[in-house]
Subunit: 356 residues, 2 copies
């Protein structure tokens, strides 16, 4: 007899939305989250406001978590990892380990929502000195400071007068093996630039970019206000090196619009690091036997026509476990995955009844 | 007693995916399409291959249509328009007119999937001479030619030697009132550039752009091959005028990377026109009483956290009726809308049972 219960792996935005959706359709959910808390990367990494609606991350994730923790159809398992899986669509047997205890559950379908990790700028981009200079940060370092509403130079605690973002660190880069664009970094840098200007109106903010990928409404909702209302300076250029000059950072590169070399002092530099598959995504793909693409994200072989199906029938993916996604993508995919997983277990149960 | 039937308005990619999804969850669908055929804009406008998976549009839309036309849970109404709506979530009464006949149906929820229309380049961009020169085309004109695999100069039937695309026609433009980015035009121009180079290996192809918005996997799947394998020439520049010189088009503007004026002959120019709300989207928004944004697209007031809810509970939106969307967005939203609409009618029916 096929199971009508659905396993969701990961309790970030994708997993929470999928869990709420499946329960809303009347099906039971087992939600396994490896951390001791729900909310995923926005909570683990202390995100400030979420793009592009600018709502407070803790508030949003709190609402999404509450919809799941208070739901009688959701069997929530924190501090829990999926360690084995056998069977096929309708009849998966999954081992979930929680601390020392293990448990085997029967589920009809699985939704993988194990997310991404931020690119580590020390790995192959040493010219930016992330592990060398205190005032060189990543987007997530800056995000945590903006959440505290205290944005100062880590090296001396002073308020910065000049801050810049360097885009595409770890993305669009064959040298490090990540040819893809990470999709959200242009928008998040622009959002942070606005937040810095709100907090420190005297601080000059620069964004060095290749292409500003402010697609759709990010253009009018974030990019135009950043330029016109908040006077963020966007400079098409390539930064090739960061050094120290006195107590300031000196960035060197080329302004590709003005077609000239530049050497500019900055108090803080923020590296717009891209997305890579999380360790959880890579290990769960292997445990479940779903195909990964060359970057390690979970492959969605049907492309745009079915953005949540994996290579294994009955196993779906939602959010950035499948590649660089923004929050709109993630929430849309989670809803679609909930629909497909519930539709599948319903269909299998009906087929079983018809042959009984 | 609330109705568990769901009305879907529009039979393009969003409407077809939503209809299949709702039926898969076991709920009845009334699918109203104004045209005499299913498939939406990809069929009406003779699209060739769909981005970014490059599958044939007729084949894809044929599969999506078949899943709905053969479905006993889908009441398909072609040549049908929704002309009135009253009631509220769970108990909408909707008038559907099909030719001379009218019908009133009770539905618990509504999914609007009425799509976009292509920007008309004659309205406010006369400098490009779309209505003046035969060899100035739009993306959809080029698409229809590529579908026929016959790409020639409309003025004289000759094979072109030099073709260029001009990006952001009708988008990112305050002058014409469309500040937003239309999201897909960079990808579609790049896809068409590849198709032209495949068909006519001797033809030089240029794309004049502000920012190449090849977000996520469009970067590695389309943009890199376009440059490296198909030798498409991407030039950051602004084209301000098109005139004739002999029997060729002469484009004038500025190469903003080289920082110099340019005047270049072309055999054909393709205007990468953006998205505007379709007439159906604007009229249905008014009939249903859902709030539109300043551009006329249907507003989604909950932003990234709920990309399919409109201002009216029980009325959902999927696809480009809500703004510029790519196919991934559209299919994700359609799945999410199917889940939310089905979840809502289920919840309302249960509440009714509980009080009965």
């Amino acid at each position: 007899m096929p199971s009508e219960q659905i396993l969701i792996i990961g309790g970030g935005p994708a997993g929470l939305e999928a869990a709420r959706g499946v329960a809303d359709l009347g099906y039971k959910v087992v939600l396994a989250e490896a951390r001791q808390f729900l909310g995923g990367t926005p909570i683990a990494e202390n995100y400030a406001a979420l793009t592009h609606g600018m709502r407070d991350a803790s508030e949003v994730m709190g609402e999404m978590s509450a919809a799941v923790t208070n739901n009688p159809l959701v069997d929530l398992r924190l501090n829990s990892r999926v360690t084995a899986c056998s069977g096929s669509a309708g009849e998966f047997r999954v081992t979930i380990e929680s601390g020392d205890a293990g448990d085997v559950v029967d589920v009809g379908a699985v939704i993988v929502a194990t997310g991404f990790k931020h690119f580590d700028p020390g790995r192959a981009t040493q010219q930016y000195g992330y592990y060398q200079y205190d005032d060189v940060l990543t987007l997530q370092d800056a995000e945590a400071m903006l959440k505290e509403r205290k944005f100062v130079r880590p090296s001396n605690g002073n308020v910065p007068e000049r801050v810049c973002f360097i885009q595409c660190v770890g993305s669009r880069d064959r040298h490090i093996g990540n040819e893809y664009c990470s999709k959200v970094c242009c928008g998040i840098a622009s959002k942070q630039a606005i937040e810095i200007r709100q907090l420190l109106p005297q601080c000059k903010v620069f964004i060095f970019y290749i292409d500003m990928r402010m697609y759709g409404y990010w253009e009018n909702e974030i990019y135009w206000p950043a330029q016109e209302q908040y006077k963020v300076n966007y400079i098409k250029g390539v930064i090739s090196e960061i050094t120290m000059k006195g107590d300031r950072l000196m960035i060197r590169g080329e302004d590709t619009t003005m077609n000239r070399p530049m050497e500019v002092p900055m108090d803080m530099v923020i590296l717009s690091v891209g997305m890579e598959p999380s360790e959880g995504t890579k290990s769960i793909a292997s445990i479940l036997g779903v195909v990964q693409n060359k970057y390690g994200f979970i492959e969605t072989p049907h492309g745009s026509l079915d953005t949540v199906a994996t290579s294994v029938p009955g196993i779906f993916v939602a959010g950035s476990a499948a590649g660089p996604k923004d929050l709109d993508d993630t929430i849309g995919m989670a809803g679609a995955a909930a629909m497909k997983a519930a539709g599948l277990v319903r269909r299998l149960a009906q087929a079983q009844l018809a042959t009984a």
